[in-house]
Amino acid sequence: MKYPKINLLSGIILSCMMCLFSSCEEESKTKAIQPAAAEDAVSSNGIMKLNGEIISIPSPVLVVSLLQKNSIAYNATLSNPVSSKSKYVNETKKALNLGLYGADLAYTGSFNAGQSVNDYVDAVAGLANDLGILEKIDRSLVSKLTTNISNKDSLVKLNAELFKLSDRYLRDNQQNHLSSYILIGGWIEALYLSVDAAKSNQAIASRIGEQKYSAPSIQRLATQLNDQSFAGIKEQLNELCAMLLELESTYKYEKPINDRDTKTTYLMSKTSVNLTVEELAAISEQVEKVRNLIIE
């Protein structure tokens, strides 16, 4: 195909003008991102689709924090041993286990688990490096993590920062699938770390049941992932989501309370998810099954 020189030149000039105009206007009035072309492109670049949902998965940090609030003792045998890292050779397994180790790092870090914390920092940094993420984000985060292993607040915050920058980099660079695997790995490990405690703690059992709300997001994420090495995991993951979705739940709207001074709104609606002992046992077993497939 031939492109007349004049048209091509006009295109370049027009495009440069569009860029110039949008940059200038950005300072006073945001405008002029090319709508049609950009809209299709951005959806494939991980930017939220218009009038559609973006996948939102609960942070493993929240689950770990609940364990602490409920005085659940640290159990070193729950985390995936860092020695397993060398088993993960393909991209999919590396990304899944990066998410999983991220949750383990939040777990060991929150409980000030000494040398283990350092080991999990190394595991997270190693897999992020293998996936080409580390060189593209702020490398100093890893040394900050290492120097803050005894300061759990800083550690948890830095860990979240590392995963936020990773997610942003992957989505900006057409690697949404890796970001999705990381999210799924983190979600499963957070569940795995809490299912045992849930047997004797109602608050944690409720949190497991509340994963019903996240199940549709996980299903949608999994649907988009077609790597052969994920096929078996996907099947069991969908089974887990189906079990969560079957749980009975209720919702009753209550008017929120606004506090203008503190810029806070108190969301007062009543909700519940019913989870029987049998359902908890079945879900726990299924979580372990999915997790075993990820870490094997």
């Binding site: 195909m1 295109g11 569009m18 991102i33 218009l50 942070s59 900006d172 606004n258 609606s269």
Partner: protein, 139 residues
């Protein structure tokens, strides 16, 4: 010549996309100032390109006993993005348009619930641009 023309055309067609992503990145960086040290990021960035009356939305689970901070930004100054929180029955639980289009707000969650976050441009200030929503939870 054919190869050069094709490459130039590709370059031209990718420029708006590159520009859009760069614009979003700038806004994300500016918006992060609202997720202060007291908060831990949920490790995700919610972004959309909006035009006119476009509404971007996503659904999120808010867990009981936690305080979440949501920051909503567009453009290079605060208060250009309207956002609202809607429950599963479409009740509007909060909108920053009732509070001077505040660029951030905190939410204490009594019971775990699923909400939809909707974001739209303040048409008095801009008619298109990148919308960014960031979420953190209190340590």
């Amino acid at each position: 010549m054919k190869t050069i023309s094709t490459l130039l055309l590709l370059f031209v067609s990718l420029m708006p996309l590159t520009n859009a992503i760069a614009q979003c990145d700038t806004i994300v960086n500016l918006c992060e100032k609202h997720i202060t040290d007291q908060y831990i990021s949920d490790a995700q960035t919610y972004r959309a390109l909006l035009n006119g009356d476009d509404v971007a939305e996503f659904t999120i689970t808010l867990y009981s006993g936690n305080t979440y901070r949501m920051a909503a930004c567009s453009g290079t100054s605060d208060s250009q993005l309207i956002f609202r929180i809607v429950d599963a029955e479409k009740n509007i639980l909060y909108t920053n348009s009732d509070f001077g289009i505040s660029p951030y707000w905190d939410f204490f969650v009594e019971n775990t619930m699923q909400v939809t976050v909707e974001a739209m441009l303040d048409k008095n200030k801009s008619d298109s641009g990148c919308a960014v929503v960031l979420i953190g939870f209190k340590k």
